[in-house]
Subunit: 652 residues, 2 copies
């Protein structure tokens, strides 16, 4: 079965596309158009250098409100021996911007003259005295903006290939232009294919897939300076796809054929390209996105490049970044976008296929002096990982993986200033963290939270890899929370621990509780399928503690080994019948409309090393915890007790 | 005469505006609107947090093309002892994205199965075998995207106050939304006032000022996310301005009243604000831009803030950056823009009024390890200084000036990557540098050139403040160019000197040569007014050399002390009758339609320290000098000889 693609290296794939475009004389600015000089020109790219038609100012202009004079006539004026100049032949009032009279070569600002009437008395009339008296000489050309001070006719105002900013438009106007020659916008057709696709907003049944890739792709194209056209969804029908591709090729400069780029039974893209033109590349050694297709099909007057874009949303978006951005840039004549690259420390081990350039979405934060890159979900279907990503860490082909603590190059989506405002929270997940993120965003901070369980959070703090951690670790010896674990996992570190919430832990059970589950004891019934939290999670510790008290063995529980990483993950497992129940918080059960049997209340704390607790970065967080609006929002969630919120549990 | 403004500190001015807006309940998101989820939503700012309505995937989906199975049924399968599963009850073909059958909990990728017919023979038919044979067991949930893998219903997808990017739109669609609630765009009226103003594209007479501030301001507002309205030009008429301000206040959230904000005779803005509402501030201790007016006027339903924006284009643009950006940000609910700040070394002394926050436009380049800030023209009318600026150096109030070599904070307009591509050229000016800038822009380099004369360039190279310098310094002892000066000004430095052009130097004279000027000898005629180049310029050295040969004293030349800094500056002085003639190059004379009397040919070289000559940064420059297209463009300029171009003059 020919189900394998022959991946070629990224640089080679790009080179093939480029060569094909060069052969077709399409590796250049596509076309030039004249547009009016107005605010719609913003962001357009100059197609030609702009040379000044006129000078600015185009005459000698007064730079102040005052009197135009001959500089030589002011010679000798000193405080004790003023010089008087008669209005008319020797001095003339000028406003800022007025042209100098032919005979004048300097301006005396109004605040430096005494206005006199016919009797040489000082008058208060600024503009129409009979004469003026001055007590200081002025050199030639003082307070004058000479012709050409800003722009001299014929000089270069802007080079070609320049994306226009507001001040550029002013300079172009000042240099005598009324229109600008810019590169025309490349027209890009986006064709979503797939029988299983349904439009955004559809009522969904199992198997339906919301078609939003074309929205993301069109938005990317628009942001790059292109002009996208979204085609309606096309069914998986070879002839139909061929027809639509041919239609698109008549009026577009580039075709993005979304999905069907792999080698499965319904993956028609490569065959379509082969039929209508030339298949250049099928499969690139880059992740995500490797089943990419590059080709050329016949258009109206010339051939048209076509890119088979993989169907997974992350692969689709990154394929456009990797292959299309540079092409649009070339077609517009502007430099290709280059993300700033910084070196960061990886917070956990990454495995990567040795043959591929592997782009890993990472959250980036600065903790102390260290720039950290925390890998996010690597699933190609997880678009929220791109939403949360602060950058892409590149694991180059030839490298099979990287260890935690290693340095990695990160292509940054965000500015340094934004990253400096990021509060890095690693540890146990709680729904209040979502609310906290929302409130912090309103206070000029960004909360990036990675959920690695309570113990994982304390370990991350010890390693200096987070500003704070959420934790709810029960000490089975004395029923206290967190303190003994902090001493164990973070020895010799001064920390502040502040209570966030008290919350119910209990069993999330399928609506109606068909199996009649009422307590932990029911977990050992053979027909009850359980779903667990991962090792190190506070909820897992709680479970194990109570199982131990009850002398229930792990082995007796079906599904004990099946792990989810968040409360909502557990709830989703129950909601979708993957399990009958799981231990977690009430809010998660409510969110997915599950029954809930409360078993225990526990305290959820924020653990903050002192060096961060006193930082300006975290100040808004402490303010928020004391703010009634935030407290109120949390108390509206089921199963939360806000009476402990803000209580100092430990302050070293 | 009450011509002085009472400037208040910037922070105080901002606070007054903010307090007035708070009192009027306008210091908040102005309004919320629902818009469709399409590519026009790009850049809009979320007005509310976006919570997931549905999960994604909303069912357990196959992550691969393959066969859905019960994981338990694969137990025990090993290469030597395969397991056979019957299609139907035990295995079912699924494409990527298909829902799993109720009974299945894992997927085996198609490349890991053998498809069998009814006789247990391997067949090539992928999708419809009778049974499949596998040689490895699979754990539960392998190759499955479980319900909620990307998004779990009720989770926070995006916070409020978030400017939407392409991937955000995808995540919003995936979480079940079809519309988005965003902050409405603030409406900003821009009123240009001034009897002397004429629209862009007008035929100009002396005293006419092109009205392009409203274009720049409108473009800034648009870029910030507001909706600008440009009003037609309004004459300097108090009642008319009042009428238009009242009209604008009916339908806008903010009024920018351009010019008339100073305290001159025709500066009506403050009186208009006083008449129609409350004048909060007149005059802010910030440069450029100090005659700013802040006030509130009565609108339809509420009061409307009004800003009197100074008339000089640089002041106008910076006033909008300084006062309006933060306001638009607040009204949209997004964070205010913060330019990245870097510390750079100042290349020359700056004087600054002690009471003001002084923003100085600077070119920024990295030479070796040093980030340099070279101050550009400080004239508030020089919009090209904003076009060329890579950032703003802030000289805070309380500091009266800074010396060359001091560290200064620079607010950067450009990314580090762009600055890393900047070739810093300081020295003598030549028109070919404009062409070089244009060609370099096409080769992914930016040429920032500051004109300080030939000697100034060599001094800058010695100080490590430029990558290269243009120089045409004649040694009067042996008629050679540059070498002896390089040894004198750059002792112990290894340099490469490469010839750029041979060029004619001669007298630029008013068209028709009314005073019959034919040689340097004519400069001593009393009726001949000369305009000189600045001390240190190669052209000045050339002049002095020949005056010395001719035994002509400087004092005998009227205008010898009057200095311009570029060839075009000299040409403009002659074209505008400020002088009868000046020494310079043919191209400049031709540009401004002057007569030209060639006197000498000289060589114009590029001087490049070896450390830079070998850098990747400068490689495209050396390529260009050898490129026929560039050579051709230069040879089209009058008075240039390209035969020497690229000749190595010195290589240490």
């Amino acid at each position: 079965m020919s189900v394998y693609l022959h991946d070629i290296p990224l640089s080679q794939a790009r080179a093939r596309l480029r060569e094909a475009l060069q052969d077709a004389d399409l590796w250049r600015v596509l076309g030039v158009e004249s547009i009016p000089l107005d605010e719609n020109a913003l962001g357009r790219v100059t197609a030609e250098p702009i040379w000044a038609e006129i000078s600015s100012p185009h005459y000698h202009a007064s730079a102040m409100d005052g009197f135009a004079v001959r500089a030589i006539a002011t010679n000798g004026a000193i405080p004790s021996s003023p010089v008087t100049l008669f209005i008319g032949p020797e001095a003339q009032y000028v406003d800022t911007g007025d042209p100098l009279p032919e005979w004048a070569n300097a301006v005396i600002p109004i605040e430096n003259v005494e206005s006199l009437d016919e009797k040489n008395q000082i008058v208060d009339e600024i503009r129409k005295p009979k004469s003026i008296r001055i007590r200081a000489a002025v050199p030639p050309w003082s307070h004058v903006r000479p012709l050409g001070e800003d722009i001299v006719a014929t000089q270069l105002v802007l080079p070609a290939g320049h994306a226009l900013r507001p001040v550029d438009l002013g300079a172009i106007a000042a240099s005598g232009h009324q229109t600008i020659r810019v590169a025309r916008k490349p027209k890009v057709a986006i064709l979503p294919t797939g029988t299983e696709l349904v439009p955004i907003g559809s009522k969904l049944k199992a198997g339906d897939i919301l078609e939003y890739n074309s929205l993301v792709l069109a938005s990317q194209i628009k942001q790059m300076g292109g002009e996208p056209t979204r085609f309606p969804i096309i069914k998986d029908d070879f002839d139909l796809i061929c027809e639509k591709v041919q239609e698109a090729a008549q009026t577009h400069d580039l075709i993005l054929l979304n999905a069907g780029s792999s080698a499965g039974a319904e993956d028609f893209s490569s065959k379509v390209v082969e039929k209508l033109g030339t298949l250049l590349v099928h499969g690139v050694a880059v992740r995500p996105g490797h089943p990419v297709i590059l080709g050329m099909v016949n258009g109206q007057s010339s051939i048209v490049p076509i890119i088979g874009v993989p169907g997974y949303p992350v692969s689709a978006a990154l394929t456009v970044d990797i292959f299309v951005e540079a092409l649009i840039a070339k077609w517009l004549g502007r430099p290709a976008l280059e993300l700033p690259i910084e070196t960061a420390t990886l917070t956990r081990k990454l495995v990567s296929p040795a043959g591929d350039d592997d782009y890993v979405r990472v959250a980036v934060g600065k903790v102390g002096d260290k720039l950290l890159a925390a890998p996010l979900s690597r699933g190609a279907g997880v678009i929220t990982s791109l939403v949360q990503a602060d950058g892409l860490a590149l694991i180059p082909s030839g490298v099979q993986g990287m260890e935690a603590g290693e340095s990695v190059k990160v292509h940054l989506y965000r500015s340094k200033a934004q990253i400096d405002k990021t509060i890095f929270c690693i540890g146990s997940h709680d729904l209040t963290l979502d609310l906290l993120a929302q409130f912090l965003a309103e206070h000029d901070r960004r909360l990036a939270s990675a959920n690695v369980g309570s113990q994982g959070g304390l370990v991350a703090l010890r390693r200096g890899e987070a500003h704070l951690a959420g934790s709810h670790l029960l000490d089975p010896n004395d029923g206290s929370y967190n303190i003994s674990y902090i001493r164990q996992y973070m020895p010799n570190m001064s920390v502040k621990v502040i209570a966030l919430v008290g919350r119910d832990q209990g069993l999330m059970i399928k609506k109606g509780n068909p199996k009649g589950i009422k307590s932990l004891g029911d977990l050992s019934r053979p027909e009850v399928q359980f779903v667990n939290r991962q090792r190190g999670a506070g909820t897992r510790v709680l479970l194990d503690y109570h199982l131990d008290l009850m002398k229930l063995s792990f082995e007796s529980i079906a599904g004990y080994a099946s792990e989810e990483y968040t409360h909502l993950g557990v709830a989703a497992a129950v909601a979708s019948d993957r399990a009958d129940c799981g231990l977690g918080i009430a809010a998660a059960a409510q969110a997915l409309d599950l029954d809930f049997v409360p078993l225990f209340q526990e305290r959820y704390d924020l653990v903050i090393p002192n060096e961060h607790a006193q930082s300006k970065l975290l100040a808004p967080l402490f303010d928020l915890i004391m703010e009634p609006a935030f407290r109120n929002s949390v108390s509206k969630l089921t199963g939360y007790d806000v009476s402990v919120m803000g209580r100092i549990i430990l302050e070293d």
